[in-house]
Amino acid sequence: MYKNFEVIESSLEKIKEDIKNFYDPSKYHFITINAIDLGNGKVNIKWFFAKYEVMDKPIAFSVDATYEDTIPSIVDIIPSAWLSEAELADLFGLNIEGAKKGLFLEPDSPPAPLRRS
């Protein structure tokens, strides 16, 4: 299933702690957060990291959630994550703590365009 990256399964409650224990700014490069709509109101979210300067597989933390769940924000651990979180909040309509909406979409565009209904 996962062809060229490593996946660490986590859960909504634990994810923040996991990333906190894992992330070292001088060793890892935070890439982005991505969501995949799995259908039936379920969504899979992945946080991607890669090592600096070493040829190694990227690492992803994976969490399964639903659209109703509140997803914890990691901005206090990785300050640059706010943009990725804002994008997910806009394009998927996810409830991410403290994420600003309306950054990627205009007020008159359809809400959560990447959601599959």
């Binding site: 996962y2 990256f5 700014p25 600096y52 990785i78 943009l83 990627f104």
Partner: protein, 361 residues
């Protein structure tokens, strides 16, 4: 509170190439707070790739995200799909991909340098840079058939072979280009105007670049050793004499020098390819439907491009996510503005070489 001023910058501004909006809160000349809006050009390309187009067609739509790094987008996507299909492209195709990708980097870097020079008011240099960029564009045109949208890679290899005639023209033009780049290097090192305008302005420290996860030339100018060409095993960069360019100062000047030196590295890689192109097929048939998930990290001219593709064994993919270089650089850009002089804003923005049509997609 009285001497605070709100100054909007963008979405249309004389120094901005693409629509992005900053709202600066300034105190005299100093910026104390910034707000940013990036989504003016959201076109829903990801949505189209997941609903309308089959996975082979996506390879021709994805490069339309951006004109300057079209090749990076296309090749990153193709690599990601090939990883899902567990297909290894022929060696010759890999070399030809590197060739086009590095030519693309050269013209993009010259373009970026020209715009920084323009923001500094150095019109003469702009004209020189743009003229010599034309050489790289012409090389790409005869090799791929178009100046901007190359459509050169395809799932399974590349679409065209490098014929001896084309190779001859490439060699001639690249020789000329190389001479010109040496001249530019000399100019950049010695010209008084450039150092006056750019040295010590918009400094990003190494800690800051790491904290905000800057990417590409911006990070490397600050001393962060990161380059997806050395961190992801998609193309044979190791055999081709790739070298990571890192500067320490982190100001506008070193960002320019990183770009300039990377052009030398690219040229060296291109010479190596032209001298030692392997024999064999340049394209192979790929069978099967993508089932699984893969990622691709790719060093686009502006920084790290990231693709995340998931297919569920259908013609149409479940998810195509493009994380573009400028997307990574917006957070550090915002942080950098706090405490900067308002007059330096245009120079700082252009030195990041932002690409908004990539960021918003």
């Amino acid at each position: 509170m009285e001497n605070k001023m709100i100054v909007p910058f963008g979405s249309q501004h004389i120094t901005l190439l693409e629509p992005v909006r900053f709202i600066f809160e300034t105190e005299n000349e100093k910026i104390v707070n910034v707000d940013v809006d990036v989504g003016y050009v959201h076109r829903g390309i990801e949505k189209a790739c997941q609903t309308k187009l089959n996975y082979k067609q996506v390879a021709y739509i994805i490069p339309r995200i951006c004109g300057l790094c079209a090749m990076s987008h296309a090749l990153a996507y193709i690599t990601a799909v090939e990883k899902i299909l567990e297909f290894d492209p022929p060696k010759k195709a890999k070399y030809l991909r590197v060739l086009v990708h590095e030519l693309d980097r050269i013209h993009s870097h010259l373009f970026a340098m020209a715009h920084v020079a323009e923001a500094a008011g150095y019109e003469n240099l702009v004209m020189h840079l743009f003229r010599d960029r034309e050489l790289a564009m012409e090389c790409l045109e005869i090799l791929t058939g178009n100046r901007v949208q190359y459509d050169y890679g395809c799932i399974g290899g590349v679409n065209r072979d490098l014929t001896p005639e084309v190779e001859k023209i490439l060699r001639k033009k690249l020789k000329k280009l190389e001479d010109r780049i040496h001249w530019f290097k000399d100019l950049y090192m010695n010209d008084y105007t450039l150092s006056l305008r750019w040295k010590g302005i918009g400094v990003i420290s190494k800690e800051m670049a790491e904290k905000y996860n800057a990417a590409g030339p911006v990070a490397r100018a600050s001393g962060v050793r990161t380059d997806a060409r050395a961190e992801f095993d998609a193309l044979p960069y190791r055999d081709l004499g790739f070298e990571m360019i890192v500067y320490k100062d982190g100001d506008i000047y070193s960002r320019n020098l990183v770009r300039l030196d990377e052009i030398f590295v690219s040229l060296r890689i291109i010479w190596n390819i032209l001298d030692g192109l392997p024999e064999g097929n340049y394209k192979e048939e790929v069978k099967g439907l993508p089932k699984g998930e893969s990622v691709c990290r790719w060093e686009a001219p502006r920084g790290e491009l990231f693709m995340h593709v998931r297919g569920d064994g259908k013609q149409i993919l479940t998810r195509v996510r493009v994380k573009t270089p400028t997307f990574s650089n917006i957070p550090v850009l915002r942080e950098l503005f706090v405490g900067a002089n308002y007059a330096d804003v245009p120079a700082i923005i252009t030195s990041f070489d932002p690409c908004m049509s990539c960021t918003a997609r």
